[in-house]
């Protein structure tokens, strides 16, 4: 991260955004001109675009992107999909995207700016004839407990909510959020109120609220649900956060793999604008607010908040050291709140019903509700909202309806979440504490089933490979360790090599203790789970 580039990019701000500019036309000539315009180096604009899957020179000009996320991998649908697609598009025009959030039915791909999943051959043919098909993105949406996020909200009621909180003292609005006890839903579980208070108290010419909508965890699509089906909840959460902190900009950083989320949010912003609830001096309150929707360009690490901020500035999205924390020095070196979609979406409920009402939902330390996304191995794949503390078994058997075919483990909370063997399902409830006490991680609470016949060594290799592919490359342990781990398991499966267990343990410890961020630091967890719970299956690979 370069303070200089942060500031120089900040001179142009969000209206002439360097990241969007390099994303629009990543050719060398344009990048050189942009370097001149933004007073940065050519190495900076060029170096930034080479980071992103969708921008790097070798990936330019692809027509179709096949999902290579974990859920589609486990479902085993992608090989056939690739063959089917090659009947319509030449192989060199087919690229990859990591998880399109179609984990509920798999065989996912993106074409012409839209996502599709599970199309039959006939549907595929007509898609390539017509260039577009109406969306077929059906999944179950259900709640057990309080529908904080999945409830039906009346639009006018939500608009009134904005008018109401803008009439209140912003300190009172903050108090409601603090008293709700709502914790960050992106995985880290940091209390939102404390973050807002930190930003509110920080000095800065400008402040920003950034919605982290870069839901990169393969298997997760609950944010996608909120962005597409409940965008007003997210936007109003951002406005309330802005009102509390004195920020006049809300930025939605939405992953490029979710084109429908981008358009849904843009429509919702238009509704707010039309209702006179955005712009200068909103409803006579003296509060100004504007939204900016930014489409990401394919890099898992951008889900890490500091990498996301660097991305937004047009820098290479490499993880920053903390402190300074974003609330002190974030986007363009100004105080910034970065919150996950689901966290922000809880705010309207809190403001409508009071912080205390929200606090009563869930457990003592994990208040509120949690969304879970279930993949296609469940009989009833979809998005489920449960009160924190609900038993995992309820989610798996009652809501998800059990498995379509035999499964040996659930990978919960994304690639860095724990690998839960079936035997442990009954021990867990959906809250931060239960998972961590049992040696797992609730994370963002996506649930991917590892099929019974899927080799655990291959799964571990996949996790290392994912980390290697997505590592920003800044810290030594992650950049090098992820590759060496992947190579060890690759060679072991080929049969030419037996893994030195001490070396593997050293590697996992190095990643866990030494990595700068949760990517390198987090991947040892599921691998250690696998080594513990599938020792028998794996022992042939070791010396």
């Amino acid at each position: 991260m370069s303070k200089n580039i942060s500031s120089l990019s900040g001179r142009q701000g969000l209206e002439n955004n360097l990241f969007e500019r390099i994303s629009e036309r990543p050719d060398k000539e344009t990048l050189a001109a942009l370097a001149e315009e933004f007073l940065v180096g050519k190495a900076n604009t060029f170096g930034a675009v080479t980071f992103y899957d969708f921008l790097k020179p070798e990936n330019q000009g692809k027509e179709v992107y096949v999902c290579n996320g974990t859920a589609c991998l486990c479902a085993g649908t992608q090989e056939k999909l690739q063959q089917d697609l090659e009947k319509h598009v030449s192989a060199d025009k087919i690229g990859h995207m990591t998880c399109l959030g179609r984990c509920h039915e798999n065989a996912a791909f993106q074409y012409n700016g839209k996502n599709y999943s599970n199309l039959n051959e006939e549907e595929l043919s007509s898609l390539f004839e017509q260039k577009s098909l109406p969306g077929t993105d059906d999944y179950i949406i259900q709640h057990r407990g309080t529908p904080v996020l999945t409830g039906e909200y009346d639009k006018n009621e939500l608009f009134d909510l904005i008018r109401n909180f803008l009439n209140q003292n912003s300190a009172d609005v903050l108090d409601e959020i603090i008293s709700s006890g709502v914790r960050g839903r992106g995985g880290a579980g940091f209390p939102m109120g404390i973050k807002l208070e930190g930003c509110r108290n920080a000095a800065g010419k400008q402040k920003f609220i950034v919605c982290n909508a870069d839901e990169g965890d393969p298997g997760a699509y609950s944010d996608r649900y909120l962005l597409e089906k409940q965008p007003l909840l997210v936007l109003i959460g951002m406005m309330a956060a802005g009102y509390v902190c004195g920020a006049e900009w809300g930025v939605l950083y939405i992953r490029g793999e979710y084109p429908e989320s981008v358009s849904a949010c843009e429509s919702a912003i238009k509704e707010l604008t039309d209702a006179g609830l955005l712009g200068q001096n909103i409803n006579g309150s003296g509060f100004n607010y504007a939204f900016k929707v930014v489409t990401a360009q394919g890099a898992y690490i951008c889900g890490e908040e500091t990498a996301l901020l660097s991305s937004l500035e047009g820098q290479r999205p490499e993880v920053r050291v903390r402190p300074p924390y974003p609330v002190q020095e974030g986007l363009f070196r100004m105080p910034t709140v970065v919150n996950n979609v689901e966290t922000l979406a809880a705010v309207p409920y809190i403001l409508l019903n009071g912080g205390e009402a929200y606090k009563k939902i869930g457990t003592e330390r994990s208040s509120g509700t949690k969304l879970l996304s279930l993949d296609s191995f469940f009989n009833r794949p979809g998005i489920y909202e449960v009160d924190m503390g609900t038993s995992l078994n309820t989610v798996v058997t009652e809501l998800g309806g059990g498995f379509k075919s035999k499964v040996k483990a659930l990978h919960i909370g994304g690639p860095l979440g724990g690998l839960v063997p079936l035997s442990k399902i009954n021990d867990l409830s959906v809250d931060f504490e239960s998972f961590s006490q049992n040696g797992f991680l609730l994370g963002h609470a996506s649930v991917i089933c590892v099929p019974f016949d899927f080799p655990m060594a291959k799964y571990i290799e996949h996790l290392f490979e994912f980390t290697a592919d997505e590592s920003c490359g800044k810290c030594f342990p992650c950049r090098l360790g992820s590759v060496r781990g992947q190579e060890m398991f690759e060679k072991a499966q080929e049969g030419s090599y037996k893994i030195d267990r001490q070396l593997l343990d050293d590697l996992l410890e190095t990643l866990e203790q030494g990595s700068l961020c949760a990517l390198g630091g987090g991947v040892p967890l599921p691998i250690k789970n696998a080594l513990q719970y599938f020792e028998e299956e794996l022992k042939g690979y070791f010396e």
Partner: protein, 911 residues
């Protein structure tokens, strides 16, 4: 007192410091291994080998954190050597070695490689991983005049990228790709030679391995001797650490503990040293006989000179002799030269290059404040809120200060640039007032007009500390804004905004260069800059002040030492009888009390037949003084021309006697930088051939002319100087230490970072109003010569280029170029790279066109580094009305496409 514990022992912590800096304070330089950390870079946290364990109570549960970026907090219990962190460090290095060539014995940095040191300290004995992907096949980049890279040795610590960004601010280096495939790139993945690299070498010094280095292999340990000295190339005064073996200089790096440059320097300081033993160095004294130079012994040369001097003195009087001293020489040598001229010859005909650069600064600031030197220090950039750079291009001429200003500007500090050209800093400026050359006075008056109109002046400061404000106020409020806007060509609203920015900043500081002084109204402009500081109360504390960027390395010192015809050593007035007596008593001989010739007057006197002998040290007046042909005529008309030089310069060609002097690498003494910092210069090698330390040459002549002066030693000379120069009172060779002292230095050794904190040297600060006046150059010639040429210098070359043209710098900047606006180029049918014939009332030259919007239509700009061009054939006789500094910045010229496509030297073009 807040405490934290290191391995169970309590120590005091500083607020906000990192664990690493806390550890360093108590455990020494390397308390834990580090790779990505560097003294002049921000904490980055990539290598993780500095990790330590931290508990919140003794024996409590620990967490592993990287010490370089984790702030220490009260009651932290830090454990630096637990089994767990030792294992972690070793395991990280083992990973690094899976993708690093193990060819240490033949590696350039063998024995001085940080990776090697860390690997040794963590005890790696084997790499256990199976063979996998590596990047060992990356190719070397040897494309550049100085920089090299071998990225197979790269460990991705980003130190080079960060140095290029955080230290130099050039952004040449970055990473491409991500994860395991991320790699260092130059520009858009090009070579060093094809990139925008400015060759500062910060990346090479930062690199912990040999991944980025330079042609001198500056990190190799071949050289055993390291000498700390001060750079010769500008007034910043960078400290250099020079590595040498057996009397040969190998390489130069910048010491991190140097207060002036903190581990940074530019390509001139770091790489342009090889001139010192260039085959063309003058190695023997020479006397011109029958038009050709003949080698002679020192004794022959001295006898010849002394005879002539004695003879001229006897027949024509001492005032027929003059000396030009050199601002590249030490304080001690300058002191000796003025002493020789005054006490031995008996005239005040002594002057130096300050005449043609900052004489208006010295005079103007003396008039306003009482002291003709920078009021503050470069360090103050950290405390200021607004920087005003006027008539200066520090990223080229004072690169380390320029880089520091740029760093502050990039991070959002207000920057005002007043310059006709779109300089590097102008690109980053909030306010760039691109005025017509020669109209500084108009623009500064407009600024002060708006400050008073907006009521942004500091009445309290004005009442307490200044005089003359009331009269000034009346004049400035009546300023004819319409007219000033028209003459300067700068929109009034732009000026107003800049004025408000300067006046309303909590602390505002100004920097100025020769774009202020080298004008017919140069001294007045300096006084205006002082006025601006005083009316806004920006003087006498941290982060404010008036700060001239002194050009040559010791131009401040040469003036301090008395190298000017009206003031002796310590700026004392030679016409004052009391002072005359003091000098007489001190030197033990009569000294003259009439003001002597300034440099331009010397040439006039020579042409009039009144000046018979001139001794010029280290100043190429033919190439660098204005109106070349006039200077040549003047030298030809002088009976005895002695030139003491390193090379056969254009001036040396007209000498009767040539004395081979010594370069800065061959002598000891002191230089005084632009912030009044007197620093020790230490000889690295002996003078080449039969050349001699310049100070000793002067002493030899003094002794032969009957004045008893002890042999040259820096400590002995400083002792003498400290007894006559009041502000050197507390200075001694031993006291100066590594980082020098800023004058005035009191008897007890206390030095001074900020001047005028309580009162001005002259009592009250003097505020004067000066109306804009058009230069005679334009009044007389503009109709016939409608373009304005303004001259300047570039990054790669220093003044006449005698030194830098004899280094690889000449591969990077090969010739002088003429900046011309695209509209003018089109109108004249000139394409980029074509030769333009530039004609002034004095002469004409052919220069290659560089078509750029860096200058406005009607304005041209070029450098004067190459004798092939001899740009000063064009420049005029107009001088600053007060200090006689030539007006290099405003030359009336006309242009056309050159008749010849092949280049012809200036001399061949002269009518």
């Amino acid at each position: 007192m807040k405490k934290a514990y290191i391995n169970n022992k309590a120590y005091e912590i500083n607020n906000g410091e990192t664990i690493l800096s806390f550890l360093k304070r108590y455990m020494g330089d390397k308390p834990v291994p580090t790779l990505c950390d560097a003294p002049n870079l921000e904490p980055f946290g990539s290598c993780r080998v500095c990790s330590v364990e931290v508990a919140l109570e003794a024996g409590g549960r620990t967490k592993t954190v990287a010490s370089c970026h984790t702030p220490v907090q009260e009651n932290f219990h830090i454990y630096t050597e637990t089994e767990s962190v030792k294992r972690l460090r070793k395991n990280i290095i083992e990973l690094v070695l899976t993708d690093h060539p193990l060819d240490c014995l033949t590696c350039e940095v063998n024995g001085n490689c940080e990776l090697q040191d860390v690997a040794a300290s963590v005890g790696i004995r084997s790499v256990r991983y199976p063979e996998g992907k590596t990047h060992l096949d990356r190719e070397k980049d040897l494309s550049h005049a100085y920089m090299t890279s071998d990225l197979s040795k790269c460990i991705n610590c980003y130190r080079c990228v960060r140095a290029c960004d955080e230290v130099q601010g050039q952004f040449v280096l970055s990473m491409a790709g991500r994860g395991f495939e991320s790699r260092i790139i130059k520009g858009m993945d090009t070579s060093f030679a094809d990139s925008d690299c400015v060759s500062c070498g910060a990346c090479s010094q930062a690199c912990p391995t040999s991944a980025i280095s330079d042609i001198f292999e500056s990190k190799s340990i071949v050289s055993s001797t390291k000498t700390r000295t001060v750079c010769t190339y500008c007034g910043v005064g960078c400290n250099l650490e020079v590595a040498s073996t057996n009397g040969n200089i190998q390489s130069i790096r910048a010491p991190y503990d140097a207060e002036v440059n903190s581990g940074h320097t530019c390509l001139k300081g770091r790489y342009a040293f090889s001139f010192y033993d260039h085959p063309e160095r003058l190695r023997d004294p020479m006397i011109k006989r029958n038009g050709t130079f003949e080698k002679v012994t020192w004794d022959e040369a001295y006898d010849f000179i002394v005879d002539k001097f004695n003879q001229i003195k006897a027949t024509e009087g001492p005032d027929a002799i003059a000396g030009i001293s050199s601002s590249r020489c030490t304080n001690e040598e300058n002191y000796l030269m003025q002493k020789f001229i005054r006490a031995v010859v008996g005239t005040n005909n002594i002057d130096g290059c300050a005449r043609v650069c900052h004489s208006p600064t010295a005079l103007g600031m003396q008039r306003a404040f009482g002291t003709g030197a920078a009021t503050n220090s470069v360090e103050d950039l950290h405390y200021t809120n607004c920087m005003m750079v006027i008539g200066a291009n520090p990223t080229a001429a004072h690169p380390v200060t320029g880089a520091r200003i740029k760093q502050q500007a990039m991070k959002g500090k207000t920057l005002i640039v007043i310059d006709p050209r779109k300089t590097e800093l102008a690109k980053y400026a909030d306010h760039h007032l691109a005025l017509r050359p020669g109209t500084n006075v108009a623009v500064l008056n407009m600024m002060m007009h708006y400050i008073l109109k907006e009521n942004l002046h500091d009445q309290e400061f004005l009442s307490a500390r200044t005089e003359g404000f009331d009269g000034f106020k009346e004049e400035i409020l009546n300023l004819d804004i319409d007219k000033m806007e028209a003459v300067s060509g700068v929109d009034r609203e732009q000026v107003r905004a800049a004025a408000i920015a300067y006046a309303s900043a909590e602390n505002a500081m100004s920097f100025h260069g020769l774009g202020v002084t080298e004008h017919s109204q140069g001294t007045y402009t300096v006084q205006q800059i002082a006025d601006l500081a005083m009316i806004t109360g920006n003087i006498g504390r941290r982060g404010v002040g008036v700060n001239p960027l002194r050009g040559q390395n010791n131009v401040q010192g040469s003036a301090d030492m008395g190298v000017q015809p009206h003031q002796g050593a310590g700026y004392l007035d030679v016409t004052n009888p009391d002072i005359n007596k003091a000098y007489k008593d001190f030197y033990g001989v009569e000294v003259p009390s009439e003001i002597g010739y300034k440099i331009p007057e010397m040439f006039d006197a020579a042409l009039a037949g009144q000046l018979k002998a001139i001794w010029i040290i280290g100043e190429d007046v033919v190439q660098t003084d204005p109106n070349t042909q006039k200077v040549i005529k003047a030298l030809k008309n002088t009976d005895l021309v002695i030139v003491q030089e390193l090379f056969m310069t254009e001036t040396a060609k007209y000498a009767d006697v040539i004395l081979p002097g010594a370069s800065f690498l061959e002598k000891s003494g002191t230089f005084t930088n632009g912030e009044r910092r007197v620093q020790r210069v230490n000889a690295v090698v002996k003078p080449v051939g039969n050349s001699k330390v310049d100070g000793q040459i002067i002493i030899d002549v003094m002794n032969r002319m009957g004045y008893n002066q002890a042999d040259y030693t820096p400590d002995g000379m400083l002792e003498e100087i400290s007894q006559i120069v009041p502000f050197f009172k507390g200075i001694s060779w031993s006291r100066l230490g590594k980082n020098g002292l800023q004058w005035p230095v009191a008897e007890d050794g206390t030095d001074t970072q900020i001047l005028h904190t309580e009162t001005f040297k002259r009592g009250l600060g003097r505020i004067d109003f000066f109306p804009f006046e058009e230069s005679n150059e334009l009044l007389e010639h503009q109709e016939e010569y409608p373009f304005i040429l303004t001259t300047n210098r570039n990054l790669e070359h220093y003044n006449c280029g005698a030194m830098t043209r004899r280094t690889n710098n000449v591969e990077i900047s090969t010739e002088d170029l003429l900046w011309i606006n695209p509209a003018d180029a089109e109108a004249k049918g000139i394409k980029d790279g074509e030769l333009i014939c530039v004609k002034s009332p004095r002469g004409k030259v052919d220069i290659k066109a560089f078509v750029t919007d860096g200058v406005k239509p009607g304005v041209l700009s070029t450098t004067f580094h190459f004798p092939e061009i001899m740009v000063n054939n064009l420049t005029s006789d107009v001088h600053d009305s007060q200090a006689m500094c030539p007006e290099y910045k405003v030359v009336a010229v006309d242009i056309r496409k050159a008749k010849n496509t092949a280049f012809r030297k200036a001399g061949e073009l002269v009518d």
